[in-house]
């Protein structure tokens, strides 16, 4: 009987193609926009997650709290202290540095351009692997000897020297008021997604290079941040608490005086903001589903009135109240579910095409699709109840007499 009802429903929907389509439109738009918005939201979240994975999910910063009034000179970190921390935590810390960086203008021959120098140690390679295509990476000797060597990105080398193979080339720049000549000892390439490139900023006309952090911490070897990569992201909270406690101990401060910021936390907050945003927009889109449902109810009421005679015939021939009720409920549910299927198809097409245009890998969760189509059927069922019960209650004699 269910198959009969579905066949009858499809028959009735086909009999009035234009009207059925217009009726579905509300559901098509509703389901379509919900799916599109949720998919866009999911895609963004995935991209942010990937981005955080790229920049290191175990990355964290600690500094003396900006809210404290009694700042002392000793609140700055020193390289010796970093060494102490590294020894105290052993294998738990994958990498530690001063987070020193400087932005300055460099000159090579007649060429001048802005550069961003990031101060690192030779072990930075372990946590942020790059592909050294020419020359070598920074080594311990460069760090300890404060050698004026840099490892430059391939794009920057291309811009500054007109060639990627810039090993051995030199440039002049001024760091902390001291103008010196620096040598390119290596050129690296880093794979980045277009989205990551976008999010990392770094306008294409600014060069990038790694420089021994000892050059940037010099002359007094003090700095504001302690920048670490934990070996394991499993329990960042506990790790951070112990790290701050240890720092507080060696600095003779309270652990709560220290400010810290971890990639995991940041990712979590980005994720929850994005989640809330897409839920809110999706919720607004869902209102159109209700409007679509009312459209279905409206047209079903018209249909029931138009088909009063048919209902009378069916009842005369033996249809029970329940049979008529189920017939019309099935019809409105199928009408709505068809709208849902069309809406999903449109949304998936739209999002996929959009993703291809922006060369992003789009995330469309099958669960969302199943949920959306089921929900549209439920909307149809719900808004079909009143028209269907009206049809089912029709008195066969009155219905047969209806012209």
């Amino acid at each position: 009987m269910l198959i009969e009802n579905m066949a009858m429903a499809f028959h009735a929907i086909r009999a009035n193609k234009l009207r059925s389509f217009l009726t579905m439109l509300g559901i098509i738009i509703g389901i379509g926009s919900v799916i599109a918005i949720v998919s866009i939201g999911d895609t963004m979240r995935t991209m942010f997650t990937d981005l955080y994975k790229d920049i290191g999910i175990t990355q964290a910063y600690v500094s003396y709290g900006y809210w404290n009034d009694d700042w002392r000179q000793s609140d700055y970190f020193t390289l010796d202290e970093l060494e102490l921390i590294r020894e105290a935590f052993g294998d738990e810390i994958a990498y530690i540095d001063s987070n020193a960086s400087v932005s300055t203008e460099v000159h090579a021959g007649r060429m001048s351009m802005n550069f961003q120098f990031q101060g690192i140690t030779e072990r930075y390679m372990d946590v942020q692997p790059v592909n050294v295509i020419y020359g070598r990476y920074l080594n311990e000797g460069d760090l300890l000897g404060r050698r004026k060597n840099v490892v430059m990105s391939a794009e920057s080398a291309e811009m500054l020297y007109g060639t990627e193979n810039a090993v051995g080339r030199t440039f002049r720049t001024t760091i902390y008021g001291y103008t010196d000549e620096y040598t390119v000892i290596g050129v690296y390439k880093k794979e980045m997604s277009p989205f990551q490139r976008l999010m990392m900023g770094g306008s294409s006309d600014t060069g990038e290079a790694y420089i021994p952090e000892t050059i940037l911490t010099w002359p007094n070897d003090t700095f504001y941040y302690c920048h670490v990569f934990a070996a394991d992201s499993a329990d960042m909270t506990d790790f951070m608490n112990r790290l701050k406690a240890y720092i507080a101990k060696i600095k003779d401060r309270n652990p709560q005086d220290y400010y810290s910021n971890t990639a995991v936390e940041e990712m979590g907050s980005v994720d929850s903001v994005m989640g809330a945003l897409s839920a809110a927009v999706g919720g607004i889109a869902a209102i159109s589903l209700v409007v679509g449902g009312i459209g279905i109810m409206n047209i079903m009421l018209v249909s029931v009135t138009e088909r009063t005679r048919e209902i009378g015939i069916r009842k005369a021939l033996g249809a029970r109240t329940r049979d008529v009720l189920i017939q019309f409920l099935t019809e409105s549910a199928i009408l709505s579910a068809c709208g849902g299927v069309i809406g999903v198809t449109l949304a998936v097409t739209l999002v996929t095409v959009l993703g291809m245009a922006l060369s992003l890998s789009v995330v469309i969760r099958p669960a969302v699709i199943v949920l959306a189509v089921s929900f549209s059927a439920v909307v149809g069922l719900f808004f079909g109840i009143y028209p269907a019960s009206k049809a089912a209650k029709a008195d066969p004699i009155d219905a047969l007499r209806y012209e």
Partner: protein, 275 residues
């Protein structure tokens, strides 16, 4: 097969044995209460139709024949009195039970055909069987057989609006026979047809009757009533005459309804014995 769908129907408890008196009206009164005025549609009617009779119910409009037709068709209930259809007191039945009674006991033929529009002749004939929960294939086969017998096999996939009046009424007759009901109830079946088609339809009823079915035709035309073998005349909600028609008009014999109304086979009948 039949046993299966019988069991499924809980209303079937009312579809009891076949009785000698297919229809028995017992002091039947129908009063239409329009609020201010009470109109008497039927005034203490007593009428019995035996199994196998071919009865015409005649009367002018307003005589109460349509009211009677509605009650006999289990579409309406009497205000007072009882209507026994095949031994079932319909006054006591719920509306769903009445649906089941209409489905199994009555085959309707209406003046305005009442086929479902935009639905093929075949699907129209299948409809009563759908509500009797007969399996799809069996239903389609039987519907096709019935259409063949009324001479419309080639029109099986046609929509009602693609058929002539006479053809539509033949589809309606095929539909009325679908569940092999004991009673065929026709309400002005020729009212919308020309003379030739009217004769054709009445011949068909004659054939159906000859095969043992009980046929009740409501009409106001003498020449239509002439096909039946008993004529009951109504006026002002009362029976004014009830007489035999000694020489019913004969069909031309063109229509061989041999298999048209095959009475139920013995095996199916068994469980319905006893009254």
């Amino acid at each position: 097969m039949f046993d299966q769908w019988r069991k499924k129907e809980n209303e079937d408890s009312v579809l009891r044995p076949e009785c000698e008196d297919l229809i028995r009206l017992d002091n039947l009164v129908k009063i239409y209460d329009t609020g201010a005025v009470q109109v008497t549609g039927l005034d203490h009617i007593n009428l019995t139709v035996r199994r196998g009779e071919f009865v015409a119910i005649m009367g002018h409009s307003g005589s109460g024949k349509s009211t009677l037709m509605n009650i006999m068709g289990c579409l309406d209930r009497p205000t007072e009195g009882h209507y026994f259809l095949d031994g079932i007191d319909t006054a006591e039945l719920s509306s769903d039970a009445l649906s089941a009674v209409r489905n199994r006991k009555i085959g309707f033929v209406f003046q305005s055909f009442n086929l479902i529009s935009r639905t093929s002749a075949l699907k129209n004939v299948e409809l009563p069987m759908t509500y009797a929960r007969i399996p799809r294939q069996k239903r389609a086969d039987r519907a096709m057989e019935l259409l063949e017998l009324v001479g419309l096999k080639e029109r099986a996939e046609h929509m009602p609006n693609e058929l002539s009046g006479g053809q539509r009424q033949r589809v309606a007759i095929a539909r009325a026979l679908a569940n092999q009901p004991p009673l065929i109830l026709a309400d002005e079946p020729t009212g919308n047809l020309d003379t030739a088609a009217s004769v054709e339809i009445m011949e068909m009823f004659s054939e159906i009757h000859k095969l043992g079915s009980t046929v009740v035709v409501v009409t106001h035309e003498e020449n239509i009533a002439a096909f039946t073998d008993r004529i009951v005349r109504f006026s002002d909600g009362r029976i004014v005459s009830d007489e035999k028609n000694p020489n019913p008009a004969e069909g031309s014999g063109r229509i061989h309804a041999g298999k048209l109304y095959a009475p139920r086979e013995e095996s199916e009948r068994e469980e319905e014995e006893g009254c």
